[in-house]
Amino acid sequence: MYASPVQEGSVGRRGPAWAQLARLDVPLVAATVGLVAVSVYTLTMATQDDIPGSPLYYVIRQVISAVFGMAIMLAVARLDVSRLREHSRALYAGMIVSIVLVFVIGAAARGSKRWIELGVIKFQPSELGKVLLIIALSAFVVDRARRLGDRETTSRIVLLALVPAMLVIVQPDLGSGLVYLAIAAVTMFLAGTKWNHLAGLGGIATVAVVVVLVAAPAVGVEVLKPYQVDRLTAFVNPTDDPQKQGYQLKQSITAIGSGQKLGRGPEGATQTRLDFLPEHHTDFIFAVIGEQFGFLGAAVVLSLYALLLWRAMRILTSAKNLYGALVAGGITAMLMFQVFVNVGMTIGILPITGVPLPLVSYGGSSVLVTFLAIGLLLSIHAHARAAELAKARELAAA
């Protein structure tokens, strides 16, 4: 299999700046910048009336997050991802501690505790946890690469993901918890976990969903908060009652549908402007895009995500070692899951789970963490390129 890389961490220190830039994956960076641009433009149009007196409140904060995010992305791109493997245990422990910390000092936000206040900024550990989990899980899998077929390995991977997932679900942040589980599933899948193990886990997951959503409420046990159950089941029957969860969904579908082919434009988008569409700057921003820019706008945004995911999978296949490949796989899983669950929720084919649309939804933690993840992808890409170049030189020398 993979041998330990020779030129660890050497990419960043070699050659002039343009050379480093050249090793960036241009389509990936283009898709990223494009999505940030979409986010800023959409937020400018959609949130101008939200906070009286400061029409750019959300936009300014989103731009600041994006700028910091880009810096983080470029900085991380210069690191060698393989090095993170050494610190995976510490990072995992840090993740658990920070999530637990939320319970201790977390500030209440909209009935759920997800934040840690760091001076002026509020930080959401469950977001950073997504990337930390990818790094830690991948490391664990690489360590156990030769015993992947063991039931014990599978159980441990599941356990490693389940602990933080349960912790954030209790916060309650169901969306992030599901992202953790998706990351774990894809990591196992890519690493080569046996099919029968995957099938068994799939069966257990199905049973768990049935128990949590149907059986437990029926006998009066609250596994999820009632509002979470409502949200998860609301897409089955949308409603006009603003008090109920299905209302959001109905308004979202109306918003998207009313956009028609080319959209109603920022001024004519009454669903957004008149607040019928709740959470239009965060979870339901895709509905805003659908309303303002129509099928065309939605297709452009989805194409950018398709580009992003395609490049992520390219990087996954071209990684110079298994660890890089698994990290890239985890990030692919994280982005893919969030895009599909978020978009699926706004168009009424998936449950409402409070998952942000990566890079486009307003939210500093989510934006920063997504940039961090893309930075990791760039790093993996750069090292793969470097290895390829080295090999080419070797060949030439031979």
Binding site: F189, L190, G192, G257, Q260, D275, F276, A306, W310, G329
Partner: protein, 624 residues
């Protein structure tokens, strides 16, 4: 392989699994695209409509009802503006506890119970969501001031100016004008109330109901854009309300007032004043009356109870068109027409009145035991000889099918509705052998078969006859005008607010009867001498009255210890009467005693006889 382990090829397993992942992504993108295509391109129109429905609200702007005026343009019914306390649902607290608090505070200020307010508001919101709900109409200014000063304690509470119906003459003409009330669910489906919206107040009785579609007007609407909270974000368009049309009645306010006053309170009776040629009503009233202002806003429980209490004589009943009374001797006019037209008698044919008539052992006597000797028709009417008409009744019962009087009674409008433009009219009853057989079959009669006695009773308006003052007026008018059975009507025309005519409401077509002129003049002269000649039943009442009056008294016996019902029907001026006045008092005793003096006062008002409309002149005649 010359490649070393530093750059391994991707394993086939990983390649396969990445392909699976990529396939999954492709599948999901496809699903999303198809769904978006369906929502935005295929069903886009529907969602545009839904989005517009979301943001657009129509706020109703109430249209004032049209005024009702009398024939000279004097206001009978108009509107006043009042302040109404309303609730805007979007601004009312959502939490039940906070709502209860609000309702409790409102209850304290407005004097209604909190649970009643909640019930009321919920009902209105269920009917018209998003629109504001009325908590209380006609709120006094200090209360409004308090609410506005403490607006923080009353979230969602607003004060609006509304139009309420006003009846300035209170109890006068109440039965005529009728009442308004909130339109019911059933009425919304009726064509008469087409265009009315939930929450509108529409005519529920009287001419308010008959001419509702003219009086109602059309509500306006302000179309506004609202946000998700229901707060206004701008006006889109405005449709001005159109006030209701003005309705001019043929009624003369002065006659109406005099009639109502002359009947007096504490009595039970009715009066009708009608133009004999056209059927135009100059006045029509019933006592006990009520104040229709009670219905202008939500009627209170205690008022409602009072109006439906038998002890108060059911004030809502319009006795002029809903009374079911025997008419006493006033019916003799019908018997006379039947006898003449049926050739049982001639106007001058002498008939002996020995004071009583013995039919198969039963003795029918004159009232007061009077013996009138040999008399012809005019005298018989003048002195109200009963024996004269008993004989006619007896004879009619034996002639042909025995239904001569019944036939003429029906022709003259008895036993059927007159067709007046008021709702709720009752047809009454003309007793006949067929009717008696029917009620006996149904077990509601007394089981006795029809006999000559029944017809004898009918000939003098006693027994089972059921008629109302309006029917009497129509019958007398038909004779007075030479055989035209008029359809009484109240509405003259529809006008705009300035009194310009928009639509005439012509008198409905009349039926014609053939009544020979000499019969008519014989009958009228009989009635004239009854009101003027010595011995005439109402001569003392009209002594010195400047207008020549022809009239007939009536005293209906109701048996079972109940007091007699007093009747008087007057035609004036003699010999070519223009008006008929019919008056009855359920417990007035003899016709000359109560009904005739009321008729005199009405006639005084009608013909503008100075200083006479308040003068009560009672007669001494004790005839039936």
């Amino acid at each position: 392989m010359y490649l070393d382990t530093r750059r391994p090829a991707i394993t086939p397993q990983l390649a396969f699994r990445v392909a699976v992942l990529g396939g999954l992504a492709f599948l999901m993108f496809s699903v999303i695209f198809f769904r978006l295509w369906f929502l935005q391109v295929l069903s886009g129109d529907r969602y545009v409509a839904e989005a517009n429905d979301n943001r657009v609200r129509d706020i109703k702007v109430q249209a004032p009802r049209g005024q009702i005026v009398d024939r000279q343009g004097r206001t009978l019914v108009d509107n006043r503006t009042a302040l109404a306390v309303k609730l805007t649902p979007a601004e009312v607290p959502k939490a039940r506890a906070a709502q209860d608090d609000l309702y409790r505070r409102l209850a304290g200020v407005l004097g209604r119970s909190a649970s009643k307010i909640r019930e009321d508001v919920n009902e209105q919101l269920a009917a018209v969501p998003f629109s504001s709900a009325t908590v209380k109409q006609d709120v006094k200014l200090p209360v409004v001031g308090y609410l506005l000063e403490h607006a923080d304690n009353f979230p969602g509470v607003t004060v609006e100016r509304v139009f309420l119906r006003r009846y300035p003459h209170d109890e006068v003409g109440a039965h005529l004008f009728g009442t308004v009330g909130e339109v019911t669910k059933e009425q919304l489906d009726e064509s008469a109330y087409r265009g009315a919206e939930m929450g509108d107040r529409v005519g529920q009785s009287g001419v308010e109901a008959t001419y509702d579609r003219y009086l109602r007007g059309r509500n306006g609407a302000t179309r506004v854009q609202v946000d998700a909270m229901g707060s206004l974000t701008g006006a889109l368009s405005t449709k001005q309300p159109r006030a209701g049309r003005q309705l001019r009645l043929s009624v003369d306010l002065k006659v109406q007032e005099t009639g109502q006053e002359a009947l007096g309170t504490g009595r039970r009776g009715a009066f009708v004043v009608m133009d004999v040629k056209t059927g135009e009503i100059r006045g029509l009233g019933s006592t006990p009356s009520f104040d229709p202002n009670m219905f202008a806003k939500q009627i209170t429980q205690s008022d409602y109870k009072r109006l439906n209490d038998p002890g108060n004589g059911y004030p809502l009943t319009n006795r002029a068109i809903q009374g079911l009374y025997p008419t006493g001797s006033t019916f003799k006019l019908i018997t006379a027409v039947a006898g003449l037209e049926g050739r049982l008698i001639t106007p001058s044919e002498p008939v002996s009145d020995p004071g009583s008539l013995n039919v198969g052992g039963t003795v029918f006597k004159n009232a007061g035991g009077a013996v009138n000797g040999v008399i012809a028709l005019p005298q018989a009417l003048s002195v109200s000889s009963d024996v004269y008409f008993y004989k006619l009744g007896l004879e009619a019962n034996g002639e042909g099918d025995g239904l001569l009087i019944q036939r003429w009674a029906r022709r003259l409008g008895f036993g059927r509705k007159t067709g007046i433009d008021l709702p709720g009219e009752l047809p009454g009853l003309v007793p006949s052998p067929k009717w008696r057989a029917k009620v006996n079959r149904q077990g509601i009669g007394d089981g006795r078969p029809w006999s000559a006695g029944d017809n004898i009773n009918l000939s003098v308006g006693q027994g089972d006859l059921q008629a109302n003052p309006l029917q009497m007026a129509v019958a007398y008018a038909s004779v007075a005008n030479g055989g035209r059975v008029v359809i009484p009507h109240l509405a003259e025309r529809i006008e705009d607010a300035d009194g310009r005519v928009l639509q005439e409401l012509p008198a409905p077509a009349r039926r014609r009867l053939r009544i020979k002129p000499e019969y008519r003049s014989a009958i009228l002269s009989g009635l004239r001498s009854a009101a003027s000649a010595p011995g005439g039943t109402s001569a003392d009442v009209f002594k010195g009255f400047p207008i020549p009056v022809a009239g007939k008294t009536g005293t209906a016996e109701k048996g079972m210890g109940r007091p007699d019902q007093s009747w008087y029907i007057a035609l004036a001026p003699y010999p070519n009467p223009r008006y008929v006045v019919a008056v009855t008092d359920e417990a007035g005793g003899f016709g000359a005693e109560t009904a005739a003096p009321v008729a005199r006062r009405i006639l005084a008002a009608l013909f503008d006889v100075r200083g006479q409309e308040n003068k009560v002149v009672k007669g001494d005649s004790r005839t039936f």
